[in-house]
């Protein structure tokens, strides 16, 4: 398992790097509007009503950004949580924990691709 993770390291690092860089740049704007503004009624009327939200998200750039907001934080989170577990529990269970976390990120990313393609 560890060998496989080491072989995949360049891909994982690329996705982790994109997650921490691009993901972090996307999150505040997304969280302030979709996460907080719209549910709390702080946005102008209809700004994120279904029609407008769907139109934005189903635009090609919208699909790409939405996929970025789904997949990139997953990879950033998986890699950082793996590092946290390695610090606390040592390197013994690292192969198992790393594999589980990356599996969540991979399945989430694939579901994200499916979700943005079928909007």
């Amino acid at each position: 398992m560890k060998t496989l993770l080491l072989r995949l390291e360049p891909v994982i690092w690329l996705l982790f790097g994109a997650g921490i860089m691009v993901g972090t740049m996307l999150l505040p704007g997304y969280l302030l509007t979709v996460g907080l503004g719209a549910p709390l009624g702080l946005l102008p009327e209809g700004a994120l009503g279904y029609e407008r939200a769907h139109a934005i998200a189903s635009n090609p750039i919208g699909r790409l950004v939405l996929l970025g907001i789904i997949a990139l934080p997953l990879w950033k989170g998986a890699h950082h949580l793996r590092a946290l577990f390695a610090d606390w529990l040592g390197h013994g269970p690292d192969g198992l924990i790393g594999s589980l976390l990356y599996a969540v990120a991979a399945v989430g990313s694939l579901l994200g691709i499916y979700a943005v393609l079928t909007l």
Partner: protein, 146 residues
Amino acid sequence: MARPSHPQAMTPHRPGSTRTAAPQVPDDFWTRRRMLTYLLFDATGLPYMLVGLLALRVAFALGRGPEAWARLMQDFSHPLYVAFHVLALIAAVFVGVRFFRLFPKAQPPRIGPAKPPPGLLIHAGLYAAWLGLTLVLLIVLGGLWP
């Protein structure tokens, strides 16, 4: 009990004439301020993963139709979701401030024939991109344009 950190981490290529003790992680490492900040930085992984999974729910709700979207917005207005999204926002700002400060220091001395731009310029560029993207998202998702 103190335990050895990566045993080979500090090993020189050729053993020198001076014997040095193996590096040790102190027992109370997680009570030290710098270590705590580092662990907190890694711990932001949890809100990041949850934000990713919730964004997946956002995408599926948009695909299912207006009722699913209304239900999602209803759920997101629950105090627990609001508290989580505030926490995630704090986590994202913390990661950005720390990572963008470290990023210029992690540049190689040369990229091919060129030297990377001065650290201050990279730092400023990252902040400009971060603020710019946030503004664009606020304007588009906030209903101001188009």
